[in-house]
Amino acid sequence: MLYATLLVPEARMRPPIGLLKPLSATNPHRLPSTVARDDEHLLVAAAKRGDTHAFEELVNRYEAKIFRLTMNITRNREDAEDAMQDAFLKSYAHLKEFQEDSRFYTWLVRIAANEALMRLRKRRPNQFSLDEPIEGEEDLVPRELEDWGPSPEQRFAQTEMHEILSQVIDKLEPDFRVVFVLRDVEELSTEETAKALGISIPAVKSRLLRARLKLREKLNRYFRQGGAN
């Protein structure tokens, strides 16, 4: 029996996959995120058996997060969209090779991060390398030590906050940004991040430390008492 039929009763009423319209942004049939974590392996198993609705459910569930990831890495909408599309298509093409020793989402993030990095390298050849060791510790000296007051993030509306985060991450160097995005936005472990990027654990840690410190300084402009000027 099709997994999607078990999961979503309305699926019985659905037209064949080729006739499906994209889900309306205002009416997604996404399940709560806690369910997503619990039943992901069932969806993957069903998709591996050829249940296209199950795979589409995985796409619906993760498309916004994967687009955020590719956008955060490339900082270019066209590249981000291409990277996201290719990541989903490649994950479908190679689904049978997915060993299920990690979450499907983590595997998908790895594919998407590589697609995004490929495009970033094309646009900015020789501009960044994840392999180069970081020399010296001068950049670790904190500047801009100002009081942020209690809960500074609550001074901003959600859309305003989104704009601030987008602006500060945009200014971060790509090799720091990529590591930060995987570790602190997508919440991969240090080991998963190292594996996804093909770099060592110390290289992840050193870039993550610098990324966090740099972002703190950049956020200072918005969060300090008195706000951005």
């Binding site: 994209p22 955020r68 670790l140 840690k205 410190l213 703190r216």
Partner: protein, 79 residues
């Protein structure tokens, strides 16, 4: 531990990955160093605000093209 040492360990401290003796040494430093306390607290908040940020809804045109590409691939496979 001096201020430089705190900054070097700040990531592992925030992630709760420091060995107990190092963590205790760092926290003893924070008790009397206002600047380091500011950096630690603000770096932790920096991680939190990004970590808590929700992905925005996929733009409708991007979503349409993704599902269109997916459907075409699924159809190719079934033919």
């Amino acid at each position: 531990m001096n201020c430089k040492g705190v900054i070097r360990e700040i990531s592992d401290y925030i992630d709760g990955e420091l060995e107990l003796p190092v963590r205790q040494e760092l926290e003893r430093h924070l008790e009397h160093c206002v600047d380091c306390k500011i950096v630690v607290d603000q770096t932790r908040l920096t991680v939190d605000v990004f970590c808590d940020s929700k992905p925005v809804e996929l733009p409708a045109d991007v979503k349409f093209r993704l599902h269109d590409a997916l459907h075409r691939r699924l159809q190719e496979k079934s033919n």
